[in-house]
């Protein structure tokens, strides 16, 4: 491109900045099989670790005999809790302020719990030896039902907490009680409910599910005993936090630990936490002096590595007869499993569940959450959502439909009637959040118009009449869902994890020839950061995105950041990128002015250059300025062109969207066909529309899986049922429908580029849209709510209960 004659449009196109569907730079390696995932790492002398796991959900460990295992050729060590105690690592802190056994210490609390760690030359020998570790168990009474957790005679799960009446989040009132968390105006809410013309009440369970990324969790730990340096590669969504935690619990100084997240095969919240496999690999590498790799298999992943949801919600919503909501109350019983290992900001043991007033102007509300221990795997991670936000969104969106039935009002109309209005933003909700921006009415109207909502309802009416006449055995359901996400954690004043404020960061170096490198505290697991962050920067500093390298995931080189989850990368690290870019631009402006021999204020930025105001033929391109930064800067200015920004956002961002789902249900088989799914997302400023659309497709597919089939369930003995991909529902291309996407744009007023984050919206908004559609199909028969997942048998049972099965 000739810098002299190129038009503004040509110069903008050349940058491939924000708003461009730029092809992803990551893909060249992935399509050739040249990605570098943790299991691809091979180091000289590397050993392989494998776990012995508990077959019981609750049992005392009488003895562990390692002899036969140690006799297997190639076996180097078998670690148990007793081996970890001298180094103080038999237990580890969780992100939720609890402690968790690394290896079973005296007892096991869930099926699949780690009991011993076998280290051998390769995974075959390790597996053979793990079979031979003899563990003698004494079975204990098992607690599976969270509703019985706080019964007086419930078995004591956590003997280590015996007598502890104060937990990490306040008083504990029972030996299986973790915390009670409350927010809102209880008296006011009770009054609103008591005085209401209409109150709708419902029990809504969001079943236990699992993020199940295609790559399981794993790591390689390598302790260099000569200089005391530990390098840890792993599937970490928050590598810097892992380094700090590793330092705190191992007492290795933080500067001697290097944590690297290589390519990650999907995370979805599954890879935020710290798992026993990481600790055991580190210990084994320290003990044996060689690198140790641990990669879990799929069954281990589903059984033990961080579940999501398991929220049992009871809601009451009150309204006037004409459909104006007057109050909302919710109680949650949260099943946290054997240890509280939720990955929430410290002050929020129930995450941001108090976003459960949703998109509606609800005058008064109250929420209380009781967390309890059961004999199940620990977790409670944010599976493709901000902390507990899908639970909240599912709750309010189901409650809105339940209320609509009671009012005999169209569910879309009820929503529109109660939306927070555009002019009310910034809006402070009854449960304390300040919504930054929104235009819900416009989004909903566009959605309803596009899907021809009225015609769908007419068709449904005809279908119901035909069904009643016996002319069809299929029912049409129309699900309307509207969600407000809360993402981008978050302001340090509210949000920290283990005391680490949830800022994020970007460091930029512009090279003399006008190309650049940007390093961030986040880590992509498929979101395409290397592509999109370069686009933000291209628009900010006028260097083509193709000439900007984006690097993340190596704690030795990247600035500190809290990582990627909760849709926080664009809201926080994206903002840091823009802010660091602006620092670059400010210095570049001084250099440009110097080169153009005018005052700083007399030049202005124009796409990829600085021009003299009023004399556009006089300019210096960013590339020229970059070179000058290394040889010809104004007197008193340091050479070089670098900047770093640590961005503490003033607020969260609040993406929203309107979804419509149309289903056809075969009442004889319970089979639900997704006829149509329309998703309108408003994520503020759109950086790369192609990537946004891809994120929406993926999130909707995960929502489909959750709503229609996913479940981690337990039998009464605490055995996990169906922990493999035979049973755990991941839809294939055949079960997945074609997705229709759409958008509106309401920029975030406080974000430097107005972006809000989108990766998790489709999951947060999608689940309730599917569920509402299934419930809606039966609404005329009096159904208000039926539990997820809406798999064939549950749907058929619903039809049976309603008396319409043959």
């Amino acid at each position: 491109m000739n810098a002299e004659v190129a038009s503004v449009e040509e110069r903008k196109q050349n940058l491939k900045g924000m708003g461009t569907s730029r092809r992803r730079v990551e893909d060249a390696r992935f399509v050739q099989g040249k990605g570098n995932y943790v299991d691809d790492i091979k180091l000289p002398g590397m050993l392989f670790g494998d776990f012995v796991r508990s077959p019981y959900a609750h049992a005392r460990i009488k003895s562990v005999n390692k002899e036969a295992a140690l006799a297997v050729p190639g076996v180097k060590a078998v670690l148990t809790a007793d081996d970890l105690k001298p180094v103080n690592l038999a237990w580890m802190p969780t992100l939720a302020g609890d402690v968790q056994m690394v290896l079973a210490d005296g007892k096991v609390l869930f099926q699949g719990q780690e009991v011993a760690f076998v280290v051998a030359d390769d995974r075959y020998a390790a597996s053979d030896a793990a079979e031979l570790v003899e563990v003698e168990y004494e079975e204990l009474p098992v607690l599976v039902d969270p509703f019985k957790a706080m019964d007086a005679d419930a078995p004591v799960l956590r003997e280590d907490l015996e007598g502890k009446t104060e937990g990490a989040h306040g008083p504990r009132r029972h030996h299986n009680h973790i915390f009670t968390w409350e927010v809102g105006d209880q008296d006011g809410t009770e009054r609103a409910l008591a005085d209401a013309e209409i109150v709708a009440k419902e029990k809504i369970t969001y079943q236990r599910v699992h993020p199940c990324p295609l790559e399981t969790a794993g790591c390689v730990a390598s302790m260099d005993k000569v200089n005391g340096h530990l390098t840890l590669w792993g599937t970490f969504q928050a590598p810097h936090a892992v380094r700090t935690v590793a330092s705190l619990i191992s007492t290795i100084p933080e500067h001697k630990i290097r944590v690297i997240s290589p390519d990650i095969g999907g995370g979805f919240g599954n890879k935020v936490g710290v798992y026993p496999g990481y600790i055991c690999s580190v210990v084994a590498s320290i003990v044996l002096g060689v690198p140790v790799k641990w990669i879990e298999d799929r069954i281990e992943n589903l059984q033990s590595t961080a579940f999501a949801r398991d929220y049992h919600m009871t809601g009451e919503i009150s309204a006037t007869r004409d459909g104006r909501i007057t109050g909302l109350k919710c109680h949650v019983l949260a099943d946290h499993g054997g240890f509280d290992a939720c990955a929430d900001p410290t002050k929020f043991p129930a995450g941001f569940f108090n976003i459960c007033t949703g998109s509606y102007d609800i005058p008064v509300a109250h929420v209380s959450v009781d967390g309890v221990y059961t004999n199940k795997a620990p977790g409670g991670v944010a599976y493709r959502c901000s902390f507990r936000v899908t639970e909240a969104s599912y709750f309010i969106e189901r409650m809105m439909d339940v209320l609509a039935r009671k009012l005999e009002m169209d569910p879309a109309e009820l929503r529109i009637k109660n939306f927070i209005k555009k002019e009310q933003f910034p809006y402070t909700s009854a449960l304390g959040w300040e919504y930054d921006s929104g235009d819900y009415h416009t989004a909903m109207e566009k959605a309803l118009e596009t899907v021809k909502y009225k015609a769908l309802r007419d068709e449904q009416k005809a279908n119901r009449e035909a069904f009643a006449r016996g002319e069809t055995r299929s029912l049409v359901g129309v699900g309307v869902g509207f969600f407000t996400e809360i993402v981008g954690a978050g302001p340090i004043k509210n949000c920290d994890i283990l005391g680490l404020g949830m800022f994020d960061s970007c460091e930029i170096r512009v090279h003399p020839t006008g190309s650049a490198i940007a390093r961030l505290g986040t880590i992509s697991q498929g979101q395409g950061h290397a592509t999109t962050f370069a686009q933000i920067l291209a628009s900010e500093i006028g260097i083509p995105a193709d000439q900007i390298t984006v690097e993340e995931g190596d704690t030795d080189t990247a600035p500190y950041g809290l990582g990627t989850y909760g849709s926080r990368s664009t809201p926080v690290a994206g903002a840091a990128t823009a802010m660091a870019g602006r620092k670059i631009k400010a210095k570049a402006q001084m250099i440009a002015a110097w080169l153009l021999e005018v005052h700083d204020d007399d030049v202005e930025f124009d796409v990829d250059r600085f021009v003299v105001k009023g004399a556009p033929e006089r300019f210096k391109t960013m590339a020229e300025v970059a070179f000058a930064a290394y040889n010809n800067v104004p007197p008193g200015l340091e050479p070089g062109l670098e900047a770093v920004s640590y961005y503490d956002p003033p607020n969260m961002t609040y993406p929203f969207g309107a979804y419509v789902c149309v289903v056809d249900i075969d009442v004889d088989t319970g089979v639900t066909d997704i006829r149509r799914f329309y998703a309108l997302d408003d994520c503020g400023t759109r950086i790369n529309p192609m990537i946004i659309e891809g994120q929406v497709h993926g999130g909707l597919t995960e929502a489909l899986a959750i709503a229609m089939g996913q479940e981690i369930s337990y039998d009464e003995m605490g055995n996990v049922k169906g922990a493999s991909l035979m049973d755990f529902f991941l839809p294939t291309a055949v079960e997945t429908p074609v997705w229709e996407t759409d958008f509106t744009v309401t920029p975030s007023p406080h974000h430097p580029i107005g972006a809000k984050g989108v990766g998790e919206s489709p999951n947060v908004g999608g689940v309730s849209a599917f569920s509402n559609a299934v419930n809606d199909a039966f609404a005329h028969l009096g159904l208000t709510h039926t539990q997820m997942p809406h798999d064939h048998w549950r749907v058929w049972k619903t039809a049976e209960r309603l008396g319409i099965t043959a």
Partner: protein
């Protein structure tokens, strides 16, 4: 998930395979496509110390018609079955069912012999073979014998096949020209076993059902040959009463377990729906 160690054998003849089975007794397992056995071995639910891989035995491959019988070699893959012109023309229910088994990769490996032989109640071909009146040829140290598919299954993973026998062929009386057939299978997703499935084969003349056979998949510890249900159709015009009776009789013999696919009563109900739909479709494509 790592399988235990074993010694590997790749005989080139059926006799060679039988000799290995004789030598190693219950420590040996036959390996065809491996997609049932290998996952079991990875879970260490099966730990054979000898694996006898049948892939090099040429005589076990292929599909042909011999004197009124369709003969399918045990090592014929589901993919080959699915793409066989001969079967498409003479016995379309077999490729129809193959298309509903697992996924493309598994069908390239999975064999029809393995599917019928191992006695997994989730497999689809056993019920198809019962409906078709197929016989399985078993070759052992004392020669060969044929076992009717309807007599072959004793319980889950227990069959009439002796430890030292190899199931070499499936022999199916070529169905009458103009017969109608259908396999209806409900499953949760691609790759799943049936919640319930039904195979129906009919011959119809001038609107009257001349012969019928029905068999069910995955609603008991073995495939179920629903003789009484089929009997209720023969001689009728396949009207509502006859179909209702057949459905009821089929439902009556089911004994499904409750699992992730649903509780037992649901699976019995689905079996009935599958029978009903398979009858309707078989009737439609008869003639």
């Amino acid at each position: 998930m790592i399988p235990g160690s074993f010694e590997y054998h790749r005989p080139e003849s059926v006799d060679g395979a039988i000799a290995l089975l004789n030598e190693h007794g219950d420590e040996a397992r036959l390996l065809a496509g491996g997609h049932s056995l290998i996952p079991m071995m990875k879970l260490r639910m099966a730990v054979p110390s000898h694996i006898v891989d049948l892939q090099a035995i040429d005589s076990l491959h292929g599909i042909s018609e011999e004197g009124g019988e369709l003969v399918i070699g045990a090592l014929t893959t589901q993919h080959e079955v699915l793409t066989s012109d001969l079967l498409a023309a003479k016995c379309p229910i077999i490729p129809e069912a193959a298309a509903l088994i697992a996924d493309p990769q598994v069908r390239y490996c999975g064999t029809i012999g393995g599917n019928v032989a191992n006695g997994d109640p989730g497999n689809d071909m056993p019920a198809i073979m019962q409906a078709l009146g197929a016989r399985f040829r078993a070759v052992g140290p004392n020669g060969s014998r044929d076992i009717a598919a309807r007599d072959y299954y004793e319980a889950a993973y227990f069959t009439e096949l002796e430890e030292n026998e190899v199931l070499t062929q499936i022999r199916i009386p070529t169905p009458a020209v103009g017969h109608g057939s259908a396999y209806e299978k409900q499953k949760r997703k691609i790759g799943d076993y049936a919640t319930a499935a039904a195979a129906v084969i009919l011959t119809v003349e001038s609107g009257r059902c001349i012969s019928a056979s029905i068999a069910l998949t995955n609603v008991a510890s073995t495939p179920l040959y629903a003789e009484a249900a089929a009997g209720a159709l023969v001689g009728t015009d396949l009207g509502a009463d006859a179909v209702d009776t057949a459905v009821r009789l089929a439902e009556e013999i089911t004994e499904p377990t409750s699992d992730g696919r649903g509780p037992a009563d649901f699976r019995t109900h689905v079996a009935g729906i599958m029978v009903r739909r398979a009858i309707a479709r078989a009737q439609k494509n008869a003639g």
